[in-house]
């Protein structure tokens, strides 16, 4: 079916649109521009300035190196630069959302990582008999981490858990593909005694 359309949908659903950041930046800019415009008009009408007229602002800008207190100017500059840096990073970073594409004939399917994680945990619990609460799964962009807390006295067949997890993950056919890692968690002494 229409692959370019599906590709576009999947790309848009798995990446942040950056709309919120853009709106914040644009609203700040609009407020600043409108304020500057109002001050210029007031100056032209020979009315008193709201806060600082154009003449005061330009004098302050030229005299910035000697402005007092210097610490406030430096702090303000650093804050402004950091905000700018944050916007630049937001503009350039990929902004991947915690989702995967599931390859499916004729349909575009996007699944939240949380759904994949809880489904895998349930599957492992069903297959191994380990309580669902003792299995925790984390799914990230490229990796699946399975943490199993075995029942006391029952040895954990790590290899089997890994195989089960890998088979299940393969059946999901995720893009990008993920690597599975199984980690047994030792029970704490206090847990055994309680």
């Amino acid at each position: 079916m229409s692959t370019p359309v599906f590709r576009r949908i999947v790309r848009r659903e798995t990446h942040s649109p950056r709309t919120v950041a853009m709106i914040i930046a644009v609203v700040i800019l609009i407020v600043a521009l409108v304020y500057a415009g109002v001050e210029i008009v007031l100056h032209l009408l020979a009315q008193p300035a709201l806060l600082w007229g154009p003449a005061a602002v330009s004098a302050w800008i030229v005299g910035l190196p000697t402005a007092q207190p210097t610490s406030a100017v430096v702090a303000g500059g650093i804050v402004l630069a950091l905000i700018g840096l944050a916007f630049v990073v937001l503009a350039l970073a990929p902004g991947r959302l915690p989702k995967h594409q599931m390859n499916w004939a004729d349909r575009a399917v996007v699944v939240d990582n949380g759904v994949i994680a809880s489904s895998l945990a349930q599957h492992l619990s069903d297959e191994t008999g380990i309580a669902r609460d003792n299995i925790s799964v984390g799914v990230s962009h490229r990796r699946v981490d399975v943490t199993v807390t075995p029942r006391p006295g029952v040895p954990l067949d790590e290899e089997r858990v890994r195989e089960l997890a890998e088979t299940e993950m393969e059946s999901y056919q995720l893009t990008p593909s993920v690597k599975t890692r199984v980690r047994p968690l030792r029970r704490q002494e206090s847990d055994l005694n309680s």
């Binding site: 229409s2 359309v5 599906f6 576009r8 949908i9 848009r12 659903e13 990446h15 649109p17 950056r18 709309t19 950041a21 853009m22 709106i23 930046a25 644009v26 609203v27 800019l29 609009i30 521009l33 409108v34 415009g37 210029i40 008009v41 330009s58 800008i61 030229v62 005299g63 910035l64 190196p65 000697t66 430096v74 303000g76 650093i78 402004l80 630069a81 950091l82 905000i83 700018g84 840096l85 916007f87 630049v88 937001l90 503009a91 599931m102 499916w104 349909r107 575009a108 399917v109 699944v111 939240d112 990582n113 949380g114 759904v115 994949i116 809880s118 489904s119 349930q122 059946s171 999901y172």
Partner: protein, 205 residues
Amino acid sequence: MNNTNRALNRIILLLIGIVSLLLGAAAVAVIVWPEAAEFWTRAGKAIGAWIEQAIEATMIGGTTLSWLTLAVLALILLLVILLIVALVRTIGGSRSHMVFRSNGQENPLGRLTIEEGFVSDALKYSLGQRSEILFSNVTANDIRNQPVMHVSVTPRQNTSPRHVTEDVDQLVINLAAMTGRDVPTFISIHSGFRAKLARDQRRLA
């Protein structure tokens, strides 16, 4: 899904970010670096003098107004309008009003048309019958001038996304058989607050 221009979002962010970064860095530089301070003062005075001259030179005869000031005001107004347009464009997608089936006017009783709203309700109702699906929403959008159906489902926790997709897939196939139109379908499966709050096992009843 909407048609927000994401490249534009990022370009606007990048421009505002670079300007803020440079202004902030300049403010710090002129305080801590004497040479920068000297350059700043010299350049500032030169630019100030140039602006004053430019205002004098562009005075409108008989008034205290200058073309330059008016141009600056016009520029500010233009920028504000452009930015507001950019803001407004992020709101709202493009709902499709596609027709799934229409018999033209063959029927003596008149025209029968199945539209997106009916299909959406039918799918939502069928999905609502399933105990593993907590919440679903169906919309149709135009993407690159092509109608695409978006089925969004939130299953119960611990439900396999494969089973959910199989179910939705089957429903969409049934629907296509009924309406005679197989629309490209996008399925999104969500976790979230609702799934976490609900009981994770379906009730046996």
